[in-house]
Symmetry: C2
Subunit: 329 residues, 2 copies
Amino acid sequence: MTTINDIAKMANVSRTTVSRVLNNNGYVSESARKRVMQVVEETGYIPSVSAKSLRTKRSGVIGVILPKISTETASRVVGGINEVVSKEGFQILLTDTELHHEKEIEYIRLLQSRHVDGIILLATNVNDPLLHAIEEAKLPFISLGQELPGVTSIVYDDYHAAVDMTTMILQKGHKKIAYIGVGEEDPAVGVLRKKGFMDTMKKAGITVEENWCSYGDFSIESGYESMKQIINSNRENSPTAVFVVTDRMAIGAMEYLKEQGFRIPEDMAITGIGAAVMSKYITPSLTTIDYFNKDAGSKAAELLLEQLQGKNTRKKITQNYRLIKRDSV
Amino acid sequence: MTTINDIAKMANVSRTTVSRVLNNNGYVSESARKRVMQVVEETGYIPSVSAKSLRTKRSGVIGVILPKISTETASRVVGGINEVVSKEGFQILLTDTELHHEKEIEYIRLLQSRHVDGIILLATNVNDPLLHAIEEAKLPFISLGQELPGVTSIVYDDYHAAVDMTTMILQKGHKKIAYIGVGEEDPAVGVLRKKGFMDTMKKAGITVEENWCSYGDFSIESGYESMKQIINSNRENSPTAVFVVTDRMAIGAMEYLKEQGFRIPEDMAITGIGAAVMSKYITPSLTTIDYFNKDAGSKAAELLLEQLQGKNTRKKITQNYRLIKRDSV
DNA sequence: AATGGGTGTGTAATCGATTACACAAATGGA
DNA sequence: TCCATTTGTGTAATCGATTACACACCCATT
């Protein structure tokens, strides 16, 4: 491995000068600069980031903590993050909790030990140890998708999205609307979307029967099972529409409905949230809400970079959304 | 920031001993170990990976170079890689060429400067500068999806997959089979899959008309356009089936066919490759080939870890595949 | 009692960069 | 001509870990 010392020797300068050439700071004569560049080219010298980062306390790496990488939402977000940070010469250090909540904290500490310059977290839950770990890390930090008190958060407008969607279903004349959601550990998807739905129903003077609600775990299969359960436990008073909190679960639900010979939307209308690519190409195409995940990722990255430059921008940003009306309702 | 020196002082030992406790090597008395652990707990001390890596030349990070992160294949592969490496305490440093070939080389050098312990590359093309850069890097290296001479490669069996698929279409009685592919810069998808298709057709004594072939760029839209072109330029001698080299393009092609009132598979049969989730839920469900991307990622990671342990396993591994027969043909 | 190996701990060099500081030469304004 | 800047370069400390080496102690064996 060639080091800065080798370069210095070969170019007949001190390593100070080499460093100055490479980092473009301080005074360097044209002739010295040329000699150094020359040698660097010839040797294909690559500086050690470990050494640099040990000295400077900056690594040029930003850590990303995902609940699950192989997911459409996550990969879109990472795409958006990458687009922004790579332009500024940063790399992404990726960690994936595989849906184990406790790993979020573990990974924050791990990223910290790797001297990442900042962290973007896609949380799936909120709890005190987590907040404490973030506080401790003393690093630029962005939360995406969940609002974390005291942390710059980029959130989707889950509540109003759910309100709009529910309103739309009501406008279509439906009164008996079932609900397929996820557990309440997830404040965004589990709580806010449900609240948006429930509040709107209440406002319309409709009480949602307890057995019109069912809960899954984000998977297509769980959507299928939830739908099955709702249908089976409401043989004589069946809902005419179902509000599902994610596209994937909605797809699963549709699968069950189709199997059972329901016509969509005539016998049962259905809606999702998330604008998965699939939602457009499935038959019938799924009415859903686009959260612009990629933009959210980019936005998160931009805010993080701002924080890195010392601009203290602790704030909450609510991402906008778009209701995509299609054929399933 | 607390350092190893602080811990040493607080525990009344030398930093050597602290290091020994933390790395579990060398002799340490039970009492010293306890004192150190005690202090480590209390202070929440996190060792600096930069310093460690500067000294040891190992970073515990493996670099992954992707053509495009926000893609189902890529995110599945990364999921597989992550599952394996995270178990061994490694992290993933992610880079995304966004389909710019020249960035592959740039990123190899960049990862090198970051002292990654190894690299997994999902190449989309093969050329000499690339091979040279890999050679230069002198790092454990795995290529996934493309065979790179002299580099441990995990490849999908593109040729036989295409052969099997084509054979299957032929068995269904089709003779006029169109082809939607991608450019030949991509040896795996562009060349091998095409060769598998062409060879099989030839063997069956069928010549494929030039205007039954069309080429896209992996996107759904390009599949749509390719299909349109084939239909429009074959008004009086239309094919009865179309072999598409990726699921996404196949979905686009189906979209066009449906718009134009073709019944699938009665008027036109269609097949894809890749087993996108969507392929199962679209109507009609798409006959495709599962490449087990996640397993391929895991396998790549395992081979890389083997190489890291000095086992020189330079070889080529061909991943198996599975033909999924569904309703589109 | 002498010898030798197993234990336990510390000293100090080292990894490869950055940067504060010192110093010399060149430049320019009065 | 003289002094203050500006420009150019080098010396050496520093970042926070690992590890070769030295040393001391304890205990069992001869």
